[in-house]
């Protein structure tokens, strides 16, 4: 809401500077987001006098003018056709900045002629559209006077961010009223004196409210014999100052009164209202109506309409219609001032995507007690501005009277909520200043507070507490730096997220954070039914991600384009689907949501180790990372299986991570197809693992098992095995058959060649054997080894390679 500092002073006396008032308003909840001073906007714009106009020697359409700016005479080249000697004009001195376009005025040469300054048009001064000719001021304008003083009287505009609960402050009187309360000063509301004719309005106008829920009050006033013309300068300036475009005197008055009282008004050409009758009713489904912006709207039975005897003439509280608009031929005017139900106006405004100054105020709640006063003020101004004769009285249809509400208030609640006791006398004084009437109640310690109708936000005791502290000042509430905390045993497990991140940081990864809204094409890769956004911002954000991997691939692509080729990335984030998936939860019906961890490796394994410069990541690096991560979290029952990539095509040759029979993730080399769609030309390795695996199944309990006292013995064995035998199978057989001496089995080599056969491989393992009781003897070792060799031969068909 734009508020003019000068305009405010019609209603309240202000001695303070604009900055001081702005600060106080901000601290009372009316946040002044910006202060625009005309003295700054129009710095170096002064009233000038054109002393001479000559033809430009080298250009037909240009003139060379001598402009006196109160101090000296400047030579200025001007292109306007209407410039003439003796005119008073607005002169932009060298060094000024043109408000309309931010252009800096400099000394220039135009076709060989020096020009020091500029004679301004309305457009350049941001006062209107006219940029053909220069703005000519009245003769009494005094050269040298600052334009900001001459035209704006040095006015300042506050841009106030009015929160949705404060419709009472969407006007100059409203803001003045709050200042009055804060500074304990009287408020001056304009006295309205009307000179009415003898003709009673009721003889010409009838109002029939058919839906009093949506329209509790409708006031009409008539004025005839008006001539439509421009409104006077003072009104135009006030409207322009707060960003309202002047149209004609009648429309300007309705806007002026709205900005003054906060009451939206509508002016109809009364001659276009059939039978002088206003009917307020709901629209029929499919009913069509053309609004002032020349658009045909299709309505539903939820939209409230203002109609005449024949047809709709306005969309209640939102916008008037083409068919009854004020035009140049209008002579009699019907002023509508109404109270429409906020939810009704909001509904229509949203349904039609039509937000106006009027709908904005109605949906927040206007004051139902000033409906008539605003109509009176409007006809008074119209008469003052355009002449015309007022009908006597007004038609005030008020079928559903809105009374001030009455709230029981316990002063002890102030202390209970704020933690500070404010004396009852101060509380009463604050409430009184805010227009709240405080009455004693029969109950001890309780008052009854009658709240003015312009404050629809105050409905409950707590709202009064809020008002009290708003005026009292949050600053005056002490910051209590102690608290009585009751301990609870919730949340005993330290955050799994933090622990996982610790591991990744220690392991040298960069964490990335990607958007959860992704293009639909990315979700095709995972094959999971994707959740789509009804109102996506653009085509790249239509879906919610079903995997973290595509987003991270985009990050990889982005980095590659910027020369970052070696990447070691992880992300922890939510993924979504319409179908359940391991680790997903179903908070909202039809939607499944879970958290996963993704790892991505590409490029040099360790670019900062010069001895390994050329080593690039491969599958075994990725697998090792996954295994290390899992061993850090004590997930010992993990099984790695071949992952079926039929539905999920992100990864080629993928390994599945299985825990207790449930697939909890997968990893492998990102498929060429997918990489291609991200314009990545190098190998990328990726893993994605359900976070629940870590949060639910990681062994938190730590238990010591005895460290062996006797030295271990190491023996290596190599077996020739069929290709189809997995390492996992070999490992298991060796461990089982090597009991009780085999303590650990580790892989150390794999080897294939023609000598051992086509479908064969040689796997070398290293055994660690030990006993808890004694040092092992050679026969014991030999016995165990031969048992292992036999078991491998029997179960896996493996042959010991000598």
């Amino acid at each position: 809401m734009n508020i003019s500092f000068n305009w405010l002073q019609d209603y309240i006396t202000i001695h303070e500077s604009p900055e001081e008032i702005a600060g106080r308003l901000t601290m009372a909840g009316l946040e002044v987001e910006a202060i625009r001073s005309t003295r700054e906007t129009y710095a170096n714009f002064v009233v000038g006098k054109v002393r001479d106009v000559r033809q430009h020697p080298n250009a037909d359409r240009l003139t060379v003018c001598d402009v006196y700016d109160g101090k000296q005479t400047h030579t200025v080249v001007c292109g306007a056709p209407n410039v003439a000697t003796g005119q008073k004009i607005v002169f932009a001195r060298v060094g000024s900045v043109v408000p309309a376009n931010g252009m800096h005025v400099k000394e220039v040469e135009i076709r060989g002629q020096k020009s020091a300054g500029m004679i301004c048009s309305e457009y350049e001064l941001d006062l209107g559209e006219d940029h053909e000719g220069i703005l000519v001021l009245s003769d009494d304008a005094e050269p040298g006077k600052q334009f900001s003083e001459y035209y704006w009287n040095g006015d300042v505009v506050f841009e106030i961010g009015i929160t949705p609960n404060r419709p009472d402050c969407l006007s100059h009187i409203g803001v003045a009223r709050d200042i009055a309360a804060l500074y304990k000063r009287p408020l001056r509301i304009p006295k309205i004196k009307l000179s009415e004719s003898r003709k009673p309005v009721k003889s010409a106008l009838t109002i029939d409210i058919q839906d009093k829920e949506h329209c509790p009050r409708y006031v009409g006033r008539l004025i005839e014999g008006v001539t439509i013309g421009e409104s006077p300068d003072w009104m135009q300036r006030r409207l322009k100052m707060i960003g309202v475009r002047p149209i004609n005197a009648v429309v300007d008055v309705t806007n002026y009164v709205m900005m003054e009282y906060g009451q939206p008004l509508h002016a109809f050409d009364f001659d276009l209202i059939h039978n002088g009758k206003i009917v307020v009713r709901l629209a029929n489904d499919g009913e069509k109506f053309v609004t002032l912006d020349e658009k045909e709207r299709t309505l539903t039975k939820n939209n409230l309409l203002i109609c005449d005897a024949k047809q709709p003439v306005a969309l209640a509280g939102v916008m008037g219609g083409m068919n009854s608009e004020i035009n140049n031929e209008t002579t009699s005017v019907l002023i509508e001032s109404a109270y429409f139900a906020p939810s009704s106006v909001r509904h229509t405004s949203r349904q039609l995507g039509l937000v106006t100054e009027s709908s904005y105020r109605f949906e927040r709640g206007v004051d139902p007690s000033r409906t008539a006063e605003a109509a009176d003020r409007a006809v008074q101004l119209i008469q003052q501005l355009t002449g015309g004769t007022m009908y006597r009285g007004r038609v005030d249809a008020y079928p559903k009277k809105i009374k001030p509400i009455n709230i029981p208030f316990r002063n002890k609640q102030v202390e209970r909520v704020l933690g500070i006791a404010i004396p009852a006398s101060s509380v009463k004084s604050i409430l009184k200043r805010l227009g709240v009437e405080v009455k004693e109640s029969k109950k001890k310690g309780e008052w009854r507070c009658v709240v003015p109708t312009y404050r629809p936000d105050i409905e409950r005791e707590i709202d009064l507490v809020e008002e009290i502290v708003r005026v009292y000042g949050f600053d005056n509430v002490p910051a209590q730096e102690t608290a009585a905390i009751r301990f609870t045993a919730d949340d005993v497990r330290p955050g799994i997220h933090e622990r996982i991140r610790e591991w990744f940081v220690g392991a040298g990864y960069n964490e990335v954070v990607c958007n959860s809204m992704v293009p639909g094409t990315w979700n095709i890769f995972t094959g999971k039914p994707a959740v789509t956004v009804n109102n996506p911002q653009n085509q790249d954000m239509t879906d919610l991600r079903t995997s973290l991997i595509p987003g991270m691939l985009q990050v990889v692509g982005h980095n590659m384009n910027r020369g970052n080729h070696s990447l070691r990335l992880y992300e922890i984030g939510h993924i979504f689907s319409h179908d359940p998936f391991p680790g997903s939860k179903n908070y909202i019906q039809n939607y499944h949501e879970g958290e996963t961890i993704a790892i991505m490796l590409t490029g040099a394994r360790n670019p900062e180790d010069w001895s390994l410069k050329d080593a690039t990541y491969d599958f075994y690096d990725l697998k090792g990372e996954v295994e290390s991560l899992e061993s850090k979290f004590n997930l010992d029952k993990i099984e790695y299986n071949i992952y079926n990539t039929n539905s999920n095509t992100l990864i080629d040759e993928a390994v599945g991570i299985e825990f207790k029979g449930i697939s909890r993730g997968y990893f492998g080399k990102v498929s060429k197809e997918v990489l291609k769609s991200f314009d990545i030309e190098v190998d990328v390795y990726a893993a994605e693992i359900d976070l629940e695996l870590f949060s639910e199944f990681s062994h938190v309990e730590k238990k010591y098992s005895e460290v062996p006292k006797y030295p271990p013995v190491h023996r290596d064995l190599a077996f020739i095995l069929d290709e189809k035998v997995t390492y996992h199978e070999l490992d298991q057989i060796v461990r089982e058959s090597g009991q009780p001496l085999v303590d650990n089995v580790s892989f150390f080599d794999i080897y294939r060649d023609d000598k051992i056969g086509n479908d064969k491989k040689s796997i070398a393992i290293s055994l660690e054997m030990l006993s808890k009781e004694k040092t092992l003897t050679q026969p014991e070792i030999e016995e165990t080894l031969s048992r292992i060799v036999k078991a491998v031969e029997k179960n896996l068909g493996g042959v010991l390679r000598s």
């Binding site: 601290m27 909840g29 946040e31 929160t163 949705p164 609960n165 909001r346 927040r364 209970r416 909520v417 933690g419 500070i420 707590i462 507490v465 809020e466 708003r470 949050f474 600053d475 509430v477 910051a479 209590q480 730096e481 102690t482 608290a483 905390i485 609870t488 949340d491 933090e498 991140r501 940081v505 220690g506 040298g508 990864y509 960069n510 964490e511 954070v513 990607c514 959860s516 809204m517 959740v531 789509t532 956004v533 109102n535 911002q537 919610l544 990050v555 980095n559 970052n564 984030g573 939510h574 939860k585 908070y587 909202i588 939607y591 949501e593 360790n606 670019p607 900062e608 180790d609 010069w610």
Partner: protein, 340 residues
């Protein structure tokens, strides 16, 4: 050549002196040529035995053999020494070249800010609660006292998934879930990702992160809220930070306030970042509205509570001096590596 035992011993001394001066392969070769080759001094001395008297010959022979052995031994030793020193030169430790480094891991700047903030509240007795990012109208709006068809809903541009499901616009629905899951006392912080349908620019993105706080108990007051947040601000932004609470409006708190802190870049003097006001808006807060307590089945006559919520991403930008929010989600590793 006149050979006698003296000259043999003299030669031994010479050999010993000479070998000491040898410090290179070439010099060693000179040594060899001087003493050890067929035409070298020692061999020539052997030749001289013939001209010695027969009684002296055995003794001279023995001495000469000793000489030859000594020379050979010294030569071998020197040769080995030189070879060793050659290897050493090749493998010599250069203390000035860089070591072999491992990559340094980083947490995303947003995570860092979020974790730092969360940890401060943990130290003040808050537990951590999390909630879903897909919410419904009830948790995101209605239970938080946003009535249907209320202008307050315009404060948060929402991404809808269907009639009621939506992407949460704030972390406040987690408040509702926490309160519905347990009874007071409650003292929780709730970090998480939220979504707003706002045009993407240097200043705003369609998703960001928030940290929500909630305390509900008997005797919770606005004064305590102020104290809690004041301590938080001092711990997070530095002990010299100044703060101010301004009245504001949120449907789920009454009274509501915004907390501004003195700009930590210009120390309140006014700069580009704080738009020359000297102040930065960092969070919204207030006392839990009785309607919220009613929605979750608490008696507002029995308990009071406070809630606060702050945007992480923008604060992180200010804190780290990043001037475009989109850079946070591009994840250029050259940016990420600055947050080790």
């Amino acid at each position: 050549m006149n050979l006698d035992s003296n000259s043999v011993y003299e030669t031994i001394e010479n050999v010993k002196t000479d070998i000491q001066t040898v410090s290179s392969k070439d010099e060693l070769e000179q040594f060899r040529l001087k003493y050890l080759v067929r035409k070298g001094i020692i061999q020539q001395m052997f030749e001289g035995i013939k001209s010695a008297s027969p009684d002296e010959r055995p003794q001279l022979g023995k001495a000469l053999n000793e000489l030859r052995q000594t020379a050979q031994k010294l030569f071998d030793e020197k040769k080995q020494e030189l070879e060793q020193s050659k290897t050493l030169t090749r493998d010599k430790l250069d203390l000035t070249i860089p070591g072999r480094r491992r990559p340094v891991g980083t947490k995303h700047p947003v995570t860092q800010a979020l974790d730092d903030m969360t940890n401060i509240f943990k130290s003040m007795g808050f537990a951590v609660a999390l909630g879903p990012e897909i919410e419904d109208d009830f948790h995101n709006f209605e239970a938080l006292n946003f009535p249907p068809d209320h202008p307050a809903r315009d404060m948060q541009d929402t991404f809808f998934l269907d009639q009621t499901a939506l992407l949460r616009t704030h972390t406040s629905p987690v408040q509702v879930r926490v309160m519905m899951n347990q009874r007071p006392p409650i003292r929780h912080v709730m970090p998480g990702r939220v979504y707003r349908n706002e045009a993407i620019s240097a200043r705003s993105y369609c998703m960001f992160h928030q940290l929500e706080g909630l305390a509900v108990d008997e005797n919770i007051t606005f004064a305590e809220l102020k104290g809690t947040l004041a301590i938080f601000a001092k711990k997070f932004f530095g002990s010299s930070v100044k703060y101010v609470f301004r009245p504001s409006f949120f449907p789920f708190t009454e009274p509501s306030a915004e907390m501004d802190i003195s700009c930590f870049l210009c120390k309140g003097k006014g700069c580009r970042v704080c738009k020359h006001t000297g102040w930065l808006e960092i969070l919204g807060c207030g006392m839990v509205d009785p309607n919220v307590f009613k929605a979750v089945g608490y008696d507002p006559e029995k308990v009071t509570g406070y809630a606060f919520g702050m945007g992480i991403d923008r604060t992180a930008l200010l804190l780290y001096g990043i001037d475009d929010i989109r850079m946070l989600y591009e994840n250029d590793v050259r940016l990420l590596n600055q947050f080790a």
